[in-house]
Assembly symmetry: none
Homo-oligomer: 205 residues x 4
């Protein structure tokens, strides 16, 4: 097995363990066991426990960006792009509960634990939203008075809070489709310029 493979195997094992137990309750030996390597082996690939967490963020979110970007590349309409982002995000959070837990819970802690860690990948992910909005504003589709820096957080926060509830409650009250409908119904109506709003609403019905 190549080194890269073992590195990756540990990352996936860690994602699973962190998701299940949380960073602090996760034991290095849990991760080692899950990855089927010896405890000491982990330290050949990572500096310490926290380093594993950071790597989990970087790699898992990197893959997320990859996937979302690919889907977006096939669409040019900023309205559709926003919907694609939301759909992709919620779908993946629903499918990969471990990743969801890690993003929703562990990522938040990490900021406090080491101030120097800037979550670049995570920022990059959220900036996909602001990029879409800016593009839409340039095309006269999204209202010019919307500040993308605030709107991106509002939009992501809405998705995040919804998927958070999915993670903790066993039963899912609403389907992804229903939820997307609601979210887009609110945000598009809220962010489109009046003309576009009318047209978009019509096209939806």
């Amino acid at each position: 097995m190549k080194a890269a493979d073992k590195h990756s195997k540990i990352i996936h094992a860690a994602t699973k363990v962190f998701a299940k137990k949380g960073f602090f309750n996760a034991r290095i030996s849990d991760i080692a066991k899950e990855a089927k390597v010896a405890d000491g082996t982990i330290y050949l690939y990572f500096n310490n426990k926290f380093d594993i967490l950071i790597s989990v963020f970087e790699e898992e979110i990197g893959a997320l960006i990859e996937q979302v970007s690919q889907s977006l590349a096939m669409e040019t309409d900023p309205r559709k792009q926003l919907e694609i982002f939301a759909t992709k995000h919620l779908t993946m959070m629903k499918k990969n509960k471990n990743l969801a837990e890690v993003i929703q819970i562990e990522l938040r802690q990490s900021t406090k634990m080491i101030k120097e860690y800037r979550n670049n990948k995570f920022s990059e992910y959220i900036d996909i939203i602001s990029t879409i909005i800016k593009t839409g504003q340039a095309q006269g589709i999204y209202r010019a008075d919307i500040k993308p820096g605030i709107a991106k957080r509002a939009f992501f926060g809405a998705l995040d809070e919804i998927s958070r509830v999915w993670s903790i409650s066993l039963e899912t009250e609403y389907t992804v489709e229903e939820t997307i409908n609601q979210i887009m119904g609110i945000f598009l109506a809220g962010m489109l310029v009046t003309d576009e709003r009318t047209r978009y609403t019509l096209s939806l019905s």
Copy 2:
């Protein structure tokens, strides 16, 4: 000093310490020191470390509900009520950074740590939003196709993500007013029925 006072003193000290260090990195002795009591004294008022965290949630969020409820009682327009909720929430999160941290970070972990803990107070808090929406729908102000159960999470998630960034970054990019303007601009435009939307937008300009 009465027992209730000491209980309260410990709660506030714990909020501060949990906010600063996080639950797992917080030491009982840190809390004791902050509260100016002996380590052992804490165990006269709480069963264990986790019990302190739960109590922090219950009491601090209880106070939050109290305050928000009072402000809302003075207003009957569901549009204004939503704005008041947002303003109150963001203002308090900005003012009380410790509480903000605890709500944004520690509250999330707690769900995983003890499954039986239901965060009733927190649910109660978020349900203020859905109650406002339902009232507005009954009055024909908010769109009938909005599902309050989803919209409450979208609205709270938006506020939460924004205030979360405030907590971690020292400088604040936007003022509360600007932010409220943006959030309300999006959500009201997104949730009001067409007639109301026109009238509300006009009144804003």
Copy 3:
């Protein structure tokens, strides 16, 4: 309530608690609760936890000596006296399980815990046996080659080990009468001079 009464009340409570939980697992608050006084009150009558244990020995064993002495005073035959001692001891150990536990277990530890504690009362109790033997030897009833200092321990040890098993096992295999019969059968036959042995054996049958 007079001071002496409260002192006594605490002693009895402590005997009960020590017997049930053992010295180290017993809490001062357990004793206080059992004695229906406040924790602090105990320190008005005793210097510390260990002092309570010592007092329990002194007083409870003192009462034991009192009772045994009274019974012995009514009998002059050293053979009968030894039987009376055994019967009294086993009967009381069986009746008062708390006292039995304390003597069998806690008394042994105490020697190690404070070297200066000499267990005078306990020595006094066991010396009742050697006194009986010496008297019997003087009368030509017990063998002259028996060393009372060794025999007293052998006799007490035998009784103690038997009653120890009674304490720990719920069911009692043998009655006090059967046991006394066996013990006296062995020890009298073992210690009496040949003539006396024959006569005693005959009187038993």
Copy 4:
């Protein structure tokens, strides 16, 4: 060093420390220091402090049984066998004061601390005595009316009480030989059938 060696090293260290300080006053760090291992290492071999105590009983008493059994195997006369048991026991208790303390004091507590612990090894040890007696009875040497279940406790209790005093008092009043003489003088005279008693007494003189 092999795992078994380290296990054994900890057992011996624990025996020493328990003997010196008693179970409750013994610190894990004391045992670790005595065994020249780190505190944490102990937990690689034992589940908890109490588990160490149980293991000490099992292993040390197991070794005791081994030794006594070997000595007994070379002798067929039940009278001599009883003497060998007494001699071996007292000799070893005198030589290994730590083991003596642990058997006399800690073993007694343990029964109370965990009810489920049955001290099987200890029972096995004491049953050596009853086996000897039964064999002797079958050969018509020991009195048939002696109940081995009581006599074994009387005999062991006598030895135990005597060796207990040796442990706590620095000076030894009597030698092992003198003591054995006394004990056997009493118990053999007490338990042999009349004919055998006469013959044995004669052979002793």
